[in-house]
Every structure is written in structure tokens, then in C-alpha cells.
């Protein structure tokens, strides 16, 4: 496949970025999107040019590092996958592919296609945990949890923190991410004691870091590689409203 790539290049946080156009030839349709970028970077290094910086780690869809806005969609044209799981056969020979970084106030660009997603860690630090004593291992069966609850908590826990929800949302809202983190704990008895404080603290942090409010467009759910459901956002709303009723 021969392709034209339109890629956002930005030297550092402060620099003014711009789109650069690259041509790339002989790409196998069976290669992954990131492998295609590897080929481009080898070509750039050979030409003594600066390679394109992009995030990746596991390349098997579980770490959430890869983060590209490809042809107008987070993680590209496929649904329910991360960028590293996207293959070039989804494109056609001769296509022009526009590649941009996540765009959000809460995710400033560090370099080229890499954005700073520390905001997610800060939201987690605000309340995405439970406080337990270490060293005394408890009997796993001592706390009984209904199967449906544990399944739902597990579904919420599948969030890999990739940020596609924020990237795709017209409001750059982090609600799906925060909802999955609140939900996975709110559903389980171990999460109950800190539920009130957690919902308040995490929502306050999310607002403070410049993410927008959810207007229920549902775009996040469609683009989320882990299919996190909007039902978790309803639970977050519920948790937050109830938390505010309590003194």
C-alpha cells in the first residue's frame, strides 16, 4: 500500500505545532497501524529527520498507552479496539490518513502525537482507591458478592485509562473514565465505606483539571476500546448526587 500521512508535529509543550505531509510506500495491509508508523520513523531516521513521537507500550490492547486520533476518530475507524490493534487493511491503497494527538485542555501535547495524561492519575489519587490494612490476608469467601455485581464491577474495571473517551467527546469530558473508576468500587462492599468521599473528590478533581461536563452524547461509549457502558455514568451521577445529600 502507498499512503499519504498528514501528521501533527510539535517540538515541545510550548511550541506552535503544524501538520507535516509524508509519503510512505510498500506498506503491508497486514501490518498494524503502529508498525506502519515504525516504518515511517525508520525512513525519517535514514533521512536524518526527527522521527514522529507517539505513545505505545504493550501493543496488545491492554496498557492504554497508544493514543492516536486517526481520520477524525479516536483509535481510528474500528470500534472497540486500541490504536495498536488497528490494521492497515482497514485503509485503502492511495489513502490520505490524518493523524492528530488527543485534543483536550486536560491532556496538553508534550511532543508531536504524545499527550500528557497525568490528569487521569491525579483523578485516581483523589479517590480511586480503598483503604485497607496490609499484611492480614482475608479469606476470599468471607465477603459474599452477588455474581451480577461482581461481573458489572469487572466490566467497569476493564478501563485501561487510554483517554479515548475524553478525546472523542465534544466536551472533552472525562466522565466515562471517572465513572468506570467510581463504579468498580461502588459496586463492591469493600468500596462502600469511602463512597461519599470518593464521588465528591474525584468529580471535583475532574472539574478542576479542565475536563468538560457530560452532555450524554454517548460518543465515549462507542469509541471506548473496552466498551465501558454509559450505565456507569448514570451510577456516577447517582453516587455524586447521593453523596451531596449526606452531611
Amino acid at each position: 500500500m502507498d499512503l499519504t500521512l498528514k501528521i501533527w508535529r510539535q517540538a515541545d509543550r510550548k511550541a506552535k505545532g503544524r501538520f507535516e505531509i509524508y509519503s510512505i510506500k510498500n506498506i503491508s495491509p497486514d501490518s498494524s497501524f503502529l508498525e506502519m508508523l515504525d516504518v515511517l520513523n525508520e525512513q525519517l531516521v535514514r533521512d536524518n529527520a526527527e522521527p514522529v513521537a507517539f505513545d505505545h507500550d504493550c501493543r496488545e490492547g491492554i496498557c492504554g498507552m497508544c493514543s492516536l486520533f486517526i481520520n477524525g476518530r479516536a483509535h481510528g475507524p474500528d470500534e472497540s479496539i486500541t490504536t495498536c490493534q488497528l490494521h492497515m487493511r482497514k485503509f485503502r491503497d492511495g489513502d490520505t490518513i490524518v493523524i492528530e494527538p488527543w485534543r483536550a485542555c486536560g491532556f496538553p501535547v508534550i511532543k508531536d502525537l504524545i499527550v500528557d495524561r497525568n490528569a487521569f492519575d491525579k483523578i485516581l489519587q483523589a479517590g480511586g482507591f480503598i483503604s485497607v490494612n496490609t499484611n492480614s490476608v482475608q479469606d476470599g469467601n468471607a465477603i459474599i458478592i452477588p455474581k451480577e455485581k461482581s461481573d458489572e464491577a469487572m466490566d467497569a474495571a476493564a478501563c485501561i485509562g487510554c483517554g479515548a473517551c475524553v478525546a472523542t467527546c465534544k466536551n472533552s469530558s472525562a466522565m466515562l473514565f471517572v465513572a468506570s473508576k467510581v463504579s468498580q468500587l461502588a459496586l463492591l462492599p469493600q468500596g462502600k465505606p469511602e463512597a461519599v468521599r470518593r464521588a465528591k473528590a474525584m468529580v471535583a478533581k475532574m472539574d478542576e483539571l479542565g475536563f468538560g461536563g457530560c452532555t450524554n452524547t454517548g460518543a465515549c461509549e462507542v469509541e471506548c476500546p473496552k466498551n465501558i457502558s454509559l450505565a456507569h455514568i448514570a451510577r456516577l451521577n447517582r453516587e455524586f448526587l447521593l453523596a451531596n445529600l449526606k452531611p
Binding site: K6, W8, F19, F69, N71, G72, R73, V98, E100, R103, A104, C105, G106, T168, K170, N171, S172, S173, V203, A204, M206, D207, G210, F211, G212, G213, C214, T215, N216, T217, G218, A219, V222, E223, S229, L230, A231, I233, A234, R235, L236, N237, R238, E239, F240, L241, L242, N244
Partner: protein
């Protein structure tokens, strides 16, 4: 409380609760207006309008409704402005249509259209009935029941473009409601995987009924006058 209203969810709570209240109001409003369709003598509609203008409970709800409107507009405006600031640099290319419905992304524009329509609508009828009065209202009025039917139907018969404005207003309202119904419940936390489908379906029915009903009235009146 101020913490709550400063939070994004707190503001949306107000948008949602006031919106659901307006949704209830629209249904009542449609029921009253549909009397125009069911009785071409206008007696039924005139009585219904008289009841709405004089009943103490309705009188009490009226200012609550006005406050509901203002809260809805105000907080929807604040949320929209803040949300716009959340993405300082826009994408060069974004295909939103693949992942969300048009109405859900354009609630503010639809809401603004509805507001423009509302100003026209209030100045056409409510303002005259409640404050300034109108000669048509007096014609053939009995026992203090004003002839609201005549005021409404003459406007729809005499000005064809007013009919078009009303139909367009109803269409904008329909799209707004198609997203608003489920979203209102979702923001209050009253939805889950099962109920989302049900609420979506109810919302679709509701918006077709309301938009269709309101659009039908001017068209019906106009066509009936030409037969």
C-alpha cells in the same frame, strides 16, 4: 450547596430537573391545544384556555414554570460555555457522526432556536391573553370566557408563513426532546442498561407525539379553512 452548584454534575442536575419539568408542561400544553382539533366551534378550547388562565393551582405553577425555564436556559448556557473551553485546540478532522446522534451534539443550537420560537409564540398569544388583550378575544366571548380560539385560528389562517414558523419550531423541539428525554433521567442517575433502551424508546414516542401534535395544529387549521 455552592460546592454542589459549582460542580459540573450539580449544574447539569439543574438543567436536567428543570428540563424534565418542562417536558411535563409540554404534555399538558399539548392536551389543551389539541382541543382546537377536536372541536371546530372552539368552545372546548376556550374553556380549557380559560381554565388554564384562572385556576389557582395553574396560577401557582405559572411562576414556577417561568423559573424552570430561566434555570434551564441559564445553566445549559453555563455548561455549554464551560464545555467549549475544555478543548482549546480543535481537531482538523473529526467524524462525530459515527459515534453520536446529531441532536445530542447540537442541543444548544436547538435550544436557541426553540427560544427564538418561544418569544414569537408568547408575543402571539400568551402576552395578548394575559396582558394586553385583543379585539378578537372579545368577539363572541361569553361569561368572561375569552375567544382564544378565534385569536389562534385567525393568526394561523391569515398568515401562512406563521404556520411554517410554528411547524419549524415543533421540528426543532422534537429533535431537542429526542435527546433530552433519556438524557434527563441519565443525569439524575435514573438509568441503567435495561432502562436506557426503554427510556430511549419512550423518548422517541414522546418527541414524535409532541412535535407532531404541535405541528399538526396550525396545518390543520389552515387546511380546514381552505376546504
Amino acid at each position: 450547596m455552592s460546592n454542589f452548584l459549582n460542580s459540573s454534575i450539580g449544574k447539569k442536575f439543574l438543567v436536567s430537573i428543570s428540563g424534565l419539568f418542562l417536558i411535563t408542561f409540554l404534555l399538558v400544553h399539548l392536551v389543551v391545544n389539541s382541543m382546537i382539533l377536536f372541536d371546530s366551534t372552539g368552545v372546548l378550547f376556550n374553556q380549557a384556555a380559560h381554565f388554564m388562565g384562572t385556576n389557582p393551582i395553574i396560577k401557582f405553577v405559572e411562576p414556577v414554570l417561568a423559573i424552570g425555564f430561566i434555570l434551564h436556559l441559564l445553566y445549559a448556557g453555563i455548561v455549554t460555555l464551560q464545555n467549549q473551553q475544555a478543548r482549546p485546540v480543535d481537531y482538523k478532522k473529526q467524524h462525530s457522526g459515527n459515534s453520536s446522534k446529531w441532536a445530542s451534539r447540537n442541543m444548544f443550537i436547538l435550544g436557541s432556536l426553540i427560544l427564538i420560537f418561544l418569544v414569537i409564540h408568547i408575543s402571539n398569544f400568551f402576552w395578548k391573553m394575559r396582558f394586553t388583550g385583543h379585539e378578537l378575544l372579545e368577539q363572541g366571548s361569553t361569561d368572561g370566557v375569552e375567544n382564544a380560539y378565534l385569536l389562534v385560528t385567525s393568526l394561523f389562517i391569515d398568515w401562512w408563513w406563521i404556520d411554517i414558523v410554528y411547524v419549524l419550531g415543533a421540528v426543532a423541539l422534537g429533535f431537542h426532546l429526542s435527546h433530552a428525554f433519556w438524557a434527563g433521567f441519565q443525569t439524575l442517575g435514573l438509568s441503567n442498561i435495561k432502562w436506557r433502551k426503554r427510556l430511549d424508546f419512550l423518548g422517541l414516542l414522546y418527541s414524535i407525539l409532541v412535535a407532531g401534535g404541535f405541528a399538526l395544529i396550525p396545518v390543520w387549521v389552515k387546511i380546514a379553512s381552505m376546504l
